[in-house]
């Protein structure tokens, strides 16, 4: 079956409108909101702080802990609150997506906690979460080599496209690939795939993701700089 026109009317390489903000949670050391279309993620960073229980402490390096959660009202059908298999997995992959850019060696025995809440979901929540977490970490003044931006790409029918929404994700011939890329060095820190796609299509999808992440990177840069510029004027 061919998929000639997107349900939303977007172009195949067009992302949903993006909005980003930092400093949204007053009591956190750093925080950010990242909105892509109808998906909204909020990230809060606490620390570096003492790590308890103590047996988790590592005297050689600090630890990053990511917690991903969807609020019960974020989806059309009420989600049972609290962690589940899916959210634990996403927390772990988020952690691994962010770890390569953070310099944790400076904080032996300590922990940096990242809490990601999805307050409205319409696909691409883990990508929005990673983009938000990266902003929040920078806002918290944590030493980082780079920032991370993330977007989902995929295949619907016979077309390769960027930033799938719920309708496309639920299409019977859809493959969704969330990808996270570092902003400066363009290294891939997250790539998840389950579904069918061949090598040529995957490479094409990666190219699309790279372009998308570049756009997100620009938005991230502008958000961070503007926050302090506004505070400065």
């Amino acid at each position: 079956m061919s998929y000639d026109k997107r349900f939303s009317g977007r172009k195949f390489d067009e992302m949903r409108p993006i909005e980003a903000k930092i400093g949204v949670i007053k009591r956190a050391d750093g925080s950010a909101l990242f909105k892509i279309g109808e998906t909204i993620a909020i990230a809060a960073v606490y620390g570096p702080r003492e790590l308890h229980p103590r047996f988790l402490q590592n005297p050689e390096t600090g630890i990053l802990r990511c917690n991903y959660d969807m609020t019960s009202f974020s989806v059309p059908e009420r989600k049972r609150p609290g962690p589940n298999r899916r959210s634990v997995e996403i927390g772990l992959v988020t952690e691994k997506a962010l770890l390569p850019v953070i310099d944790l060696k400076q904080f032996p025995n300590a922990v940096i906690d990242v809490f990601i809440q999805i307050i409205q979901a319409n696909s691409g929540t883990r990508c929005a979460g990673i983009s938000a977490a990266s902003l929040a970490l920078a806002n918290a003044g944590i030493p980082m080599k780079d920032l991370v931006s993330s977007v989902s790409v995929g295949k619907v029918g016979n077309k390769i496209l960027i930033d799938l929404d719920k309708e496309e994700e639920d299409h019977e011939e859809a493959t969704d690939i969330p990808i996270a890329i570092t902003n400066r060095t363009k290294q891939i820190t997250l790539l998840q795939l389950d579904g069918n796609i061949n090598k040529k299509e995957l490479l094409e999808a990666l190219k699309l993701a790279k372009l998308g992440c570049e756009k997100i990177a620009k938005i991230q840069e502008k958000t961070l700089k503007d926050y302090y510029k506004n505070e400065h004027e």
Partner: protein, 229 residues
């Protein structure tokens, strides 16, 4: 070949390229990647001849030896007091380093109790981040009364001003006692609550507008006209 990619005092983000070529050297808050210098923080750049450094705009306090900070007692053991100084790690004030003479088997809460505010100096920071504190020295003591507000540690130098001009101004205009710790905690004690609020409003105002030039005069006018908030 060597080229500076940024202007002095520009805001940079983590991973931004600051300079190219081996003629520049990475200072605090930056690192080298091949022939480029990269920022590690969201902060302000400053270039000193060949050194490029980045001063973070936010973040927790990093303890440095000889810094005078305001801490709060969180734990009492046989050896001394554990004190929260607003960094990632707690500091330890051992009985030996306390200014008071303490007899054997004495009750330590008599000197510094849970929740007490103390001005302490950082004696030593080891590689695995254990922090030794002392109250021996001029001006180091327990703080009685007053209130504490928190500001971003990197903005403390601006708040003190050139030779203490800014802090002196607030002290004069409000008649409050003010102690500023390097860890961003500011202790304010005045003759009345109104005066304390006035002083802390002025301090928060400075935090918000710390980059503006001629801020001392602006704050002076505001304090005189009672225009803060």
């Amino acid at each position: 070949m060597a080229k500076l990619l940024i202007k002095e005092r520009e805001i940079v983000i983590p991973g931004q390229e600051l300079a190219e070529g081996l003629d520049f050297l990475p200072g605090q808050g930056t690192s080298r990647d091949e022939n480029k210098i990269i920022s590690n923080y969201l902060g302000l750049v400053s270039v000193n001849e060949r050194f490029v450094k980045v001063i973070p705009l936010s973040g927790r306090y990093t303890p440095k030896v000889n810094d005078v900070v305001i801490g709060r007692v969180v734990e009492i053991g046989f050896y001394g007091w554990t004190i929260d100084i607003g960094s990632a790690y707690n500091g330890v004030l051992s009985i030996r380093d306390a200014a008071e003479f303490i007899e054997r088997d004495d009750d330590l809460t008599k000197y510094y109790d849970f929740g007490d505010l103390v001005i302490v100096k950082i004696n030593k920071v080891t590689r695995n981040k254990s922090i030794d504190l002392t109250t021996k020295g001029p001006g180091l003591k327990k703080l009685l009364g007053g209130k504490v507000i928190e500001v971003t540690p990197s903005k403390v130098p601006r708040m003190i001003g050139k030779q203490g001009s800014m802090i002196q101004l607030i002290k004069e205009k409000t008649g409050c006692d003010i102690m500023m710790g390097q860890n961003g905690r500011v202790w304010v004690k005045g003759k009345s609550t109104e005066k304390e609020i006035l002083a802390s409003d002025a301090i928060l105002k400075i935090e918000q507008e710390s980059h503006i030039e001629g801020l001392t005069d602006k704050i002076k006018k505001m304090l005189e006209k009672n225009e803060l908030r």
